[in-house]
Assembly symmetry: C2
Homo-oligomer: 234 residues x 2
DNA sequence: GTATATTTTTTACCAACGGTAGGGCGTCGG
DNA sequence: CCGACGCCCTACCGTTGGTAAAAAATATAC
């Protein structure tokens, strides 16, 4: 009896694996095709053809094109979350001697996510784009907004804590966090669009570096403060 | 004979006016509908219905949906060009006492364009978006890229001249210009997407102000330089 | 004033898209 | 061996951007 049970269990397990495998295949194909052809020109038939499956099969696993598209975000989103979490832990344990070090790490973390998964990052931007948001199903949009809000709260927590530790100049965290995010995304997007979607712009790295230096110079309490408020250490 | 000629001429003139009028009507309707429904959900039939004309009539004046869409950019693009040109002239005549003043004016100019025509600005972002660019006809895309390049060259000219005048810290103009643009567009886009496309985010203004202060603090030669080079005032 | 040429607008249509209904097929449980 | 279940495919729908060709409106010539 235990034998029969475990047999059934094994079968269920295999099915689950097959299912996951199929989902992964679909996601892989979708990502490849999106990278090649863009959101619009990538059709569900293309994806189906690539996975050697018919269109309705895909609709078995994803309830719409938007949903499939949104699912491509998961890995990058998770990576971002983890990276920020690592930074937050490091910060909380007093691991950052200067605000510059913290900001450098933050930029590096974001850049790392982009580097390991540029396509996902582009999708992320696409979702963030207001003009595009109108395209999405309402529930897909809600899900995205919810996730974005979490990441932003995480960022604000980090900045807040850094200010408490005297690493960053005291200021309203909300716009500050927005500025950092907007700057990073804006630069990536700009250089990306210059490259025409294919080759990476040779200006990506220097521009990102300048952006980082700029933020550090203007906000790190250990550097030069943004206003006339003098820092009180030495 | 001159009479007959001028008659023909008058008729041609009237036709030209009617044609322009019709184009304006179409553009107006398209902009309204884009604002209401977004790029995807705004169909050519909708536009035609709004202008009380049939669909092929629109295709007489615009060769594709992308083209119609692109034409919505013209006013904002022109306004941006003019604003930057004004700034450049003022700069060339030595009208800016400090780099801060120049940068402030630049941000204000960009914000002014956004303020008078937020929809057009959104379209601009849409075009700049790499994921979206893949959607466009190749020639429409080329036209856009060409125009964007002009604006960027203008920006670099301004920054270069400002450095020559000692208003801004010497640095590579290319990434600097990119950073300013990316920061502005990024903030608008971010706050826009938070507002859900409708109401303006209450964080738009403070975030833009912070962004401006940040850039000024980090780059204005009359303020605090970005590196350890001490300023020699006071 | 009427017939002809030209331009403009429309009706009717196409291929392609995202998405769905309903039946066929293989697999699991008894 | 049989019925139930779940997965998958063929065939289809409504809608979209875009077009061909007729039709209508207008200008020109006599």
């Amino acid at each position: 009896m235990g034998k029969a049970d475990s047999h059934r269990e094994a079968i269920r397990e295999r099915k689950r694996q097959e299912r996951e495998r199929r989902i992964r295949d679909i996601l892989d194909a979708a990502k490849r095709l999106f990278f090649q052809k863009g959101y619009q020109k990538m059709t569900m038939n293309d994806v189906a053809l690539e996975v050697r499956v018919s269109k309705p099969t895909i609709y078995q696993y994803f309830k719409s094109k938007d949903d499939l598209f949104f699912s491509l975000l998961a890995p990058a989103s998770e990576k971002t979350e983890q990276a920020l979490e690592r930074i937050e832990r490091h910060l909380m344990s007093g691991g950052y001697p200067t605000g510059a070090a913290l900001l450098h790490d933050t930029f590096q973390a974001l850049y790392g996510v982009y580097w390991t998964d540029p396509e996902a990052f582009r999708i992320l931007q696409l979702f963030q784009h207001s003009g595009m948001v109108g395209v999405l199903d309402e529930d897909v949009r809600r899900e995205f907004v919810a996730k974005a809000r979490l990441t932003f709260e995480q960022g604000r927590r980090i900045l807040s804590a850094a200010m408490d530790q005297g690493l960053l100049r005291r200021m309203d965290v909300h716009p500050f966090n927005d500025v950092v995010w907007a700057l990073f995304v804006g630069v990536i997007q700009l250089e990306d669009s210059k490259g025409g979607g294919k080759g990476e712009s040779p200006f990506l790295k220097p521009t990102l570096e300048l952006a980082e230096r700029l933020v550090i110079a203007a906000t790190a309490a250990d550097g030069r403060p943004v206003a006339n408020t003098p820092s009180n250490d030495t």
